[in-house]
């Protein structure tokens, strides 16, 4: 599925858009069709798609990508505080500021490759996190997180709208951005972001990135300067993260330092690899899966389980609940860890890689091993 024809691209986009916009419908049997989780699916989907542009295409593993998520959030909340509650400027500011950060960090980090690159990005992210949590509190409001206040400036809003009694809501020209409207806003941006990622992947630029992944040194010998390409990829990917961060603030106007912690950076790595790095849809799947675990699995407790299995006879019920309960509720981390291990051990290409593999086996049973299989040996 490397080069998709224009027609195929259109078909893919149509299916994708329908699937995203209809999430409230087809996710409801899973108990996931409520605005906040849907928003998170879309937002972290954007984050993961952007991360995949860097990692999936070039193979450079950034371990500090969450810093751009945080910067996007802070920029967006400051835009709400200083200018207007309209979300358009907030999103633009989020993307611009994370782009600037990405340019700076990328410029330095890309001087090295391999694990040295990973550690450099990690170091920058940890510095940002530590400072945001402590010394930079006047800008970030530290542990409490940057919040809106009744007496914020809101210079542009102040010109047009009379201040209400309570906190104003984030809005898109009057449409409030919490609940379902917020989800659809994020979903539309996800679709646009996905389309752009698709275009990037299939463009000459994308091709150059893939060439860098397969052999950077050899590219260098041909007189090809890979630095500008890498830096652009890094910046694009950072801006996706900034967009995701801004959207987090749009749907819920608060920005906390922990968004920049290394564990948050690790999370997007996990999402991408879990779903299938380098594939288009994989990172999205991974993001959805992890957020689903975090929000739904963690809420199960024994009494809910007993209810769920109430159709079983009592003795069986107890046994089944006893077996499942260590993995839900406060044990959801355990499930997540075990799931990673299983997927990485048995499905090296992530979920999507695994499915593709299976599909090829089924369809081309009698043909020679495909290129994909050859690679994995």
């Amino acid at each position: 599925m490397d080069t998709v024809s224009r027609k195929g691209e259109l078909r893919l986009m149509l299916i994708f858009s329908a699937a995203v916009l209809l999430m409230p419908v087809w996710l409801s049997p899973f108990g996931a069709a409520y605005p906040d989780l849907l928003q998170k699916f879309a937002i972290f989907g954007i984050f993961a798609v952007g991360f995949n542009i860097l990692f999936g295409l070039t193979g450079y593993l950034s371990f500090g990508h969450a810093v751009f998520l945080g910067v996007g959030s802070y920029a967006a909340v400051w835009s709400f505080k200083l200018f207007t509650m309209n979300v358009i400027p907030a999103v633009i500011f989020g993307v611009i500021f994370s782009g600037i950060f990405a340019a700076l960090i990328g410029f330095v980090s890309l001087r090295r490759s391999g694990i040295y690159f990973s550690i450099l990005t990690l170091a920058f992210a940890q510095m940002s996190y530590n400072l945001a949590y402590s010394v930079l509190t006047p800008i970030t409001n530290g542990e409490t997180g940057l919040q809106l206040r009744l007496h914020d400036l809101r210079m542009i809003d102040a010109l047009f709208i009379e201040a209400g009694e309570g906190l104003p809501l984030t809005n898109l020209f009057g449409i409030k951005m919490s609940g379902y409207p917020g989800f659809y806003f994020c979903a539309v941006l996800l679709i646009i972001g996905f389309y752009l990622a698709l275009r990037v992947k299939n463009s000459p630029f994308g091709l150059a990135l893939k060439a860098i992944k397969s052999n950077q040194t050899r590219m260098g010998y041909t007189g090809f300067n890979s630095r500008p390409y890498m830096l652009s990829a890094f910046m694009i990917s950072g801006m996706y993260a900034g967009l995701a961060g801004a959207l987090l603030a749009v749907t819920d106007p608060l920005a906390g330092a922990e968004r920049m912690q290394w564990t948050a950076s690790g999370e997007v790595v996990l999402m991408t690899i879990l779903g299938g790095a380098g594939t288009l849809i994989g990172p999205l799947l991974g993001a959805g899966l992890i957020k689903y675990f975090e929000n739904i699995f963690s809420s199960y407790d024994d009494s809910l389980l007993h209810q769920a299995f109430s159709y079983l006879p009592d003795a069986m019920n107890d046994v089944v609940v006893g077996m499942i309960s260590p993995f839900v509720g406060d044990g959801w981390h355990l499930t997540l860890g075990a799931l990673f291990m299983v997927i990485i051990i048995f499905l090296p290409g992530g979920i999507v890689g695994g499915i593709t593999h299976l599909w090829q086996r089924l369809v081309k049973k009698n043909q020679e091993p495909t290129e994909m299989e050859g690679k994995q040996q």
Partner: protein, 338 residues
Amino acid sequence: MDAIFLQILNGLDKGGAYALIALGLTLVFGTLGVVNFAHGAVFMLGAFCAVTTQHLLTFSKKVKDEGITFFDAYKEVPYLEIWWGETGSFIIDYKVPFSILLAVPVMLLIGLAMERGLIRFFYNRPHADQILVTFGLAIVIQEIVKSIYGANPIPVPAPEIVSGSANIGILLGLGDSVVYPWWRLIYLANALVVIAAVFSFLKFTTYGMVVRAGMQDRETVGLLGINIQHRFTVVFGLASIVVGIAGAMYTPILSPDYHMGMDFLVLSFVVVVVGGMGSLEGAVLAGFMLGVLQSFAAMNEVKAVFPGIDQIIVYLVAVIILLTRPRGLMGRKGVMED
């Protein structure tokens, strides 16, 4: 002057822990080429060897507590004290040194089990896969420990006799204001001994020499008819022992909890990379260097000039070193750059 002396000593002491952890990590990386994100969890398991020893030694008889009237509560009296009185109490007091006896075989087994059961399937997989699978393993280990021991830190005190401070100022003629905890001095000494032992093993035994040769050029050593894989497995076990001892001995300094491995993981990677991937000497050097720098950055005089420097010093040094010395302090070309 006293203050600076203390900060240096403190830095070396912190560095001892960093060096031990980084040494284990580098042993695994240098021999097997595996980036082991579960290394922090192994450190934590070492610490919980001490906790387990404490549990075993203080295995207690439950006596109904008459002081609590609202509900049935129990006091615990260790069997060791019931049976052996003073001697029993003495053994319990020395639980941390005793725990080393438990930690060495247990950590060796854990290390071998990890390598044979999981890691060996990942030698030829991308580093990203290695990172992810060991990260998953770390989470699983953590959660299992949490389900057994809870999330709260568990105090494991040092033996009574070394729980106080040594007045090293008088010993060195610096005046009596220079004191330092006995246990931390022991930890530093222990770190030096373990490091020396590992290096002697690699430098002065034939077995170690083969391992080092294998680290340089695996294929050639293999062609000589030596089962290098087998030796590397042993090295993995050795690395687990090193970091396990580091963990067990650390418990009196830091009450262990299930999450302590993750807290050390990022730091230990920074140490390894600053030292140079795959360089044992580099790991040790970087460990001590970062320990000392961290200690100095915490001084009020330094913080007055650079606010917040103590929050970022380790990462800042890592950035500077990696930009000026591309492969860390003592790294070799071509390692981990693919």
